[in-house]
Amino acid sequence: MTHGKLHGTGMNPLTAKERERFDFAVIANWIAAGEHVLDLGCGDGRLLRYLNENKGITGYGVEIDDNSVLGCIRNGIDVIQIDIEGGLSGFEDKSFSHAIISQALQAMHSTERILGEMLRVAGEAIVSFPNFAYRVNREAIAAGHMPVSEDLPYEWYDTPNVRFFTIVDFEALCDKLGIEILERLAFDVFGQPVTDDPNLNGSLAFYRLARKA
């Protein structure tokens, strides 16, 4: 699909910049002022910077990519260059209020380990990911193509994503891993919250997670 107007709705999908701000605002809403947070797959550290500027948080980002690490250093973000596929050994139990993985879980192989580690080192986890079962993605598959959409913007041959999953799939995994879903938000590509069948109508999902008591 193109990035223009959708299905005669007269609405424009959020631009990449608006989308980023929107994602950050959703996450910031779940973070209390002054928290100590860990951002996994933190890119060039812009989420941490946003949370620092808007919520006064402290914390660290974790990245493996050289250019992203450089970006963090340039942005004055405390970044730890390690591969989280191997877990978070060395990070102490419950040393963060929140561990965040913002649209990066789908690019990791060791999904279960990472979710488990996030809830070991932090009291709560915040996870956001593109919903593969979003209507537009389903239509692409039905038409015989791998989906390329607002939240899955890559062609199949150059995507960094390695795990393709849906809201329903993710919730089943949480259940299997003994993870409690404290809150879930789903949004369409216009940034509007979706409550009606989010697995079909939600393009991007956000979760606030904790260990089941």
Partner: protein, 375 residues
């Protein structure tokens, strides 16, 4: 060498401290001298000073060239200069030869004022803590209350860490590259073999070889050969030398057959020609003893609690002497204390020696970090 982006001609300077310095090991130096070089200009607010700490065989000659020996380029010239990652247009950079060194600072080659003869083996054992204490006297002398940054690789990184502990208020940024919070048993083992090579050289004479007019070159040479094996990675050694033959055929003798043998002999000979054996011994001991967590039941996080500096820690994937895991220990101990720390794990095939090279990601990370330091 190309003088492009070079600090150009530099001349060593000398600082005399005419008061006693009590050493951690119990000894006391009635006075001492340090040779140092400076690059760039100290700004009016004295906020742009950066100390570069050297490793085992390094010196105060960090960058540029000397007029009387233009071939002797500073050991970290690829890092320090105008427009280089440690930019001398912004920073006032100081290189210092450590106490106990053999490049002109007070050390085993100096005259012992009590005997009028060279100290030799009577020079007291010096620790990383003592180096830092001596460097602080130089900082006082230069009017530097607070370093913008202290940077070092390997043993130099340990000095940066030690500064953050001994003088938490006097260092804003610590840059520890290819370093470790303490030596492992294997590290100490290699040091001990190197020391034994020197100590068992018949020309060592209990450390008073100078009185006999000889130098334990065979021991020093062996020590350096062992050291060089640990500075390179297995892969890089294979890539650089493999099983290449010096003369194209097997000689079936104990002469030099393989290029790696030739390389090690060359490095050993070169080193034994200028480095002092007593300095080598005491420097390896300083390495062995360094362990800030020792006084905290091995708890590094507790030891680093008093550090206030922001840190950049960097390691190299193929460094097996001070592996990335050792750098991560520092990082996690700082994280425990919620200190500011950035950690770059650099994919470079050159082993421990990588810190002296100019891998693009490595230098880019240093440049980015140093550029953000306010002066």
């Amino acid at each position: 060498m190309s003088l492009k982006n070079s600090v150009g001609l530099v001349a060593p300077q000398r600082f005399c401290h005419n008061a006693p310095l009590t050493l951690k090991g119990g000894g006391c130096l009635p006075s001492f001298e340090l040779v140092y070089e400076t690059y760039g200009t100290l700004n009016a607010s004295r906020s742009n000073a950066v100390l570069v700490c050297h490793a085992l065989s390094g010196s105060h000659h960090v960058a540029g060239i000397h007029a009387d020996n233009p071939g002797n380029v500073g050991w970290w010239d690829n890092l320090v200069g105008p427009g280089k990652p440690l930019d001398t247009r912004k920073f006032f950079v100081i290189g210092v030869n450590n106490l106990g060194g053999c490049y002109g600072s007070t050390g085993p080659l100096s005259l012992n004022p009590e005997t009028g003869k060279r100290y030799g083996a009577d020079f007291p054992l010096i620790t990383v803590e003592d180096w830092v204490a001596a460097q602080s006297k130089l900082a006082d002398h230069l009017g530097i209350d607070t370093w913008a940054a202290i940077i070092g690789g390997s043993l130099g990184g340990m000095q940066a860490i030690e500064w953050s502990l001994q003088f938490p208020e006097r260092i804003r940024h610590a840059v520890a590259i290819a370093s470790a919070p303490k030596l492992s048993a294997q590290n100490i083992a290699f040091n001990e073999v190197a020391r034994q090579a020197i100590l068992s050289d018949p020309e060592f004479h209990g450390g008073h070889y100078a009185d006999h007019g000889v130098v334990p070159t065979r021991g020093l040479r062996l020590a350096r050969m062992i050291g060089h094996i640990t500075y390179l990675s297995d892969d890089q050694m294979d890539e650089k030398f493999g099983r290449q033959l010096r003369n194209g055929e097997h000689s079936f003798s104990f002469g030099v057959d393989f290029e790696i043998e030739s390389y090690l002999r060359h490095q050993g000979d070169k080193f034994a020609g200028f480095f002092d054996a007593n300095t080598y011994l005491l420097t390896t001991k300083a390495l062995d003893y360094f362990d800030p967590a020792y006084a905290y039941d091995g708890n590094l996080a507790a030891a680093l609690a008093r550090a206030k500096a922001s840190f950049l820690v960097a390691s190299f994937t193929t460094d097996w002497r001070f592996s990335p895991a050792r750098s991560r220990e520092i990082v996690f101990a700082l994280m425990h204390n919620r200190r500011r720390v950035a950690y770059a794990e650099i994919d470079c095939d050159a082993g421990h020696d990588s810190f002296l090279l100019d891998d693009p990601h490595y230098h880019a990370a240093l440049r980015a970090y140093l550029e953000n330091i306010k002066v």
